[in-house]
């Protein structure tokens, strides 16, 4: 009779007690083993980190550092940069009318966009939280614009929708109103860009929806027993408990809005017009960098924007102690 298969014989000598086994299966004495294993693990960790480190240094830290240097130079891309000290920053402060205008346009854009997105997304989230049939479908539909809203295609579509012969004017016509070219009139052009930004409320809405689900029903039941109506429940329970999420969304939206570029760029066809009415900070920065080839000046603008965003974010964080309720105080 043929003997059955016995226990597999290890190719490696079994490790003595107290010894460690390397990933290769080789046993090493206890003292040396710890060091070797740590070294190997470290090496593996660094190997896994290399792609991330390459990205961090290659497309973040090094370019940011270089842009800081360039902000003190006159650099047109086609010739070597020349050191000009603080000249670019001085010009920003005192000598550029369009820069001042871009600041105001951006502040207006952020000032309208952020509250509108917050209100709109919260309202839709509250409505969807009422247990509608097909909630998942509605949630997906409302979320889609936030995925595609910043794309060039949607910008072009927006230009058509709000153009002289666009769908928006057709809708107005149904109610007897005469339309116009909204995107090419300086009085209304920024409003169309803001409207596009507000349309991309889906991401904030999903976060609000998740937060609404976390509020215990018992709070509302207790309020009902005490005779609270719907508005009172929203005002006294929902809103306070959502303030941490409102705070989170506000920080994200503020940073995003300051950096908003594609929508205004596409709708204005790269000009920030008409008459600089949609000249967001980033659009002007792009013009200076890639149309006027003033990389030094544009780098200075980028650093001012970075500082401005940091200051606004810090301001929101500072204000949080007055209006954000964490439920543990």
């Amino acid at each position: 009779m043929k003997p059955g298969p016995g226990p597999e014989k290890s190719a490696v000598t079994p490790a003595p007690q107290g010894a460690a086994v390397l990933p290769s299966g080789r046993a090493v004495p206890a003292g040396r083993a710890g060091t070797n294993i740590r070294r190997l693990e470290n090496r593996a960790a660094y190997m896994f980190l290399i792609p991330w480190l390459a990205g961090l240094f290659g497309i973040t830290i090094i370019p940011v550092t270089v842009s800081l240097y360039l902000s003190f130079t006159d650099y047109n891309v086609l010739s070597a940069p020349t050191w000009v000290g603080l000249e670019n920053y001085e010009k920003l402060i005192s000598g550029d009318r369009r820069y001042e205008n871009s600041l105001w346009v951006t502040l207006k854009f952020v000032g309208y966009s952020v509250p509108l997105v917050l209100v709109f997304s919260l309202t839709v989230a509250v409505v969807l939280n009422r247990g509608l049939a097909g909630l998942a479908i509605y949630r997906s539909l409302f979320y889609v614009p936030s995925l595609i809203g910043a794309s060039v295609g949607i910008g072009l579509l927006w230009y058509q929708v709000f153009g002289e012969r666009g769908v928006f004017n057709d809708l107005l016509g149904l109610f007897g109103f005469e339309g116009r070219s909204w995107v090419t009139n300086p009085r209304y052009a920024l409003s169309t860009v803001i409207a596009l930004n507000v349309w991309t409320f889906g991401a904030s809405m999903v976060i609000f929806l998740a937060a609404l689900r976390q509020i215990p029903d018992s709070y509302y039941e207790a309020a009902s027993i005490d005779g609270a109506n719907g508005w009172q429940k929203f005002r006294r329970i929902t809103l306070p408990l959502l303030t941490p999420v409102i705070f989170f969304n506000m920080v994200l939206l503020t940073i995003q809005s300051f950096q908003s570029f594609t929508q205004a760029f596409v709708i204005s066809r790269g000009t920030g017009g008409p008459v600089d009415s949609t000249l967001l900070y980033t659009v002007y920065l792009y013009q200076r960098a890639f149309q006027h080839l003033e990389m030094g000046y544009a780098s200075a603008m980028a650093w001012v924007l970075l500082i401005a965003i940091a200051l606004f974010t810090a301001l929101i964080f500072w204000s949080a102690k007055y209006w954000v309720f964490y439920g543990d105080k």
């Binding site: 002289e164 008409p274 008459v275 006027h292 080839l293």
Partner: protein
């Protein structure tokens, strides 16, 4: 700011290239080195030009089987943006479509390869190209950076059918005041909903014609060459017409500039006359044929000054060689330039698509060929008529982009009644001077 060498003698082209061509030193190209390798060619243009260029490249690759050309096509502005970034990274294509308006920006030995050695050695074949046109392709440093292939001009496109139906044919020449009077008389005879003219107050090319027809230079030694009064008069001229209902509204004016041909008011029969490149006549006609069958577009010249002075700019398109092109790829690059500019079949396929072909015999052949389209034939005819009086602008580095940007913004502010013509003109001068550095 350094100014590129003026190329006023470009207008000598009108005197007949056959005369000046005799002075061109370059005989047929003689290639000693192997013509092989993979080269890149970047150009600007839409679908129609892409197809023509591709057909020519296919012919070239058949003739030179050891050469492969990588096609890099972009729209007009992205072409320059891309070239800038490529130049910064040192990876320009070996062959690059270039234009005299942009030459001052890019004609530097670290961006484009000076071509004098190849030109003088006869490797670059320039037979039939007027010496004056070649001279216009030199940079600030006097070196040759481009081999011209076509000479372009700007003009206006109008609806010939509407003019004929109104019994008011467009004259071959007109002054600015005659142009206004013509539109005023024509307006009541136009179909409902048709604007007599697109408001060209923000159009850089028309503005250039205004400046030069008033006896000023656009740029003088790289600085602004005209006084602020010229700008005020320009703004007032168009404001008078806008307020008289002879132009489209300010909103439509902004929308129409840079619109796609399919969306443009002239191609849709909604405007009688506008500024459009003459080489695009056929493309516009195709759309008009679909929208308003039976109507015909034509090319009109810019109005002149009251004393008859013409202000039209003139320039050349051509091909340059990137400074980073490896030596071993130079023969293939030179062969491609020679083929594109000198081959009969290439000229026939291209049909003066990007400026009237720079070689006289090709121009005459295209004009007389039976299969030449009406638009291209008309372009050549108008070109031959207007070129003698054209005034090529000496564009400084970044000058064209700066002028366009400043006049767009300046006149928009006036048309939307956010500024007076005087305020906007002052702003225009300040911004233009700032952008010129």
């Amino acid at each position: 700011m350094m100014m590129r060498k003026p190329f006023r003698c470009l207008t000598a082209l009108l005197l007949g290239t056959a005369f000046v061509a005799g002075q061109a030193p370059a005989p047929a190209a003689a290639q000693d080195d192997p013509i092989a390798g993979e080269i890149r060619f970047s150009w600007w243009g839409g679908q129609s030009r892409n197809e023509k260029t591709d057909r020519i490249l296919q012919l070239f690759e058949e003739e030179y089987p050891d050469v492969t050309v990588v096609r890099e096509n972009s729209d007009w502005m992205p072409h320059w943006d891309k070239l800038t970034i490529q130049s910064a990274g040192g990876n320009q294509p070996c062959t690059i479509q270039m234009q005299t308006r942009w030459l001052a920006t890019y004609a530097k030995p670290n961006i484009l390869r000076p071509l004098d050695d190849l030109y003088e050695a006869g490797k670059l074949d320039t037979r039939g190209i007027a010496e004056s046109v070649i001279e216009s392709s030199r940079g600030d440093d006097g070196q040759l950076y481009m081999i011209p292939s076509g000479v372009f001009f700007f003009g206006m496109m109008y609806n010939r059918t509407m003019a004929e139906e109104a019994g008011m044919p467009v004259p071959e020449t007109w002054t600015w005041s005659e142009f206004r009077d013509y539109l005023e008389a024509l307006a009541p005879k136009l179909p409902d909903g048709v604007n007599p003219t697109h408001n060209m107050g923000r159009e850089a090319n028309t503005f250039v014609a205004w400046i030069q027809s008033n006896g000023y230079e656009v740029f003088d030694q790289g600085e602004i060459g005209f006084p602020v009064e010229v700008v005020v008069d320009w703004f007032n001229y168009w404001e008078d017409m806008r307020k008289a209902g002879l132009t489209d509204s300010a909103e439509v004016m902004v929308a129409d500039l840079g619109s796609l041909i399919e969306e443009s008011n002239i191609a849709n029969g909604r405007t009688f006359i506008t500024e459009r490149p003459p080489n695009r006549l056929d493309s516009h006609q195709v759309v008009l044929d679909a929208v308003k069958p039976g109507q015909e577009l034509g090319i009109a010249t810019y109005p002149t000054g009251e004393d008859g002075t013409t202000g039209m700019d003139l320039g050349a398109n051509g091909i340059a060689i990137g400074a980073t092109c490896p030596e071993e790829l130079l023969p293939a690059s030179v062969a491609w330039i020679n083929f594109f500019t000198q081959d009969d079949r290439a000229a026939q396929i291209y049909e003066s698509d990007n400026g009237v072909v720079a070689i006289d015999r090709f121009m005459e052949a295209q004009k007389n060929a039976e299969d030449t389209s009406r638009g291209q034939r008309e372009q050549i005819e108008v070109f031959q008529r207007v070129v003698p009086d054209a005034k090529p602008v000496s564009w400084p580095s970044g000058g064209y982009a700066a002028l366009t940007e400043a006049i767009n913004r300046g006149y928009d502010a006036v048309a939307f009644e956010l500024m007076t013509p005087e305020e906007a003109a002052e702003q225009f001068m300040t911004e233009l001077a700032d952008m010129l550095g």
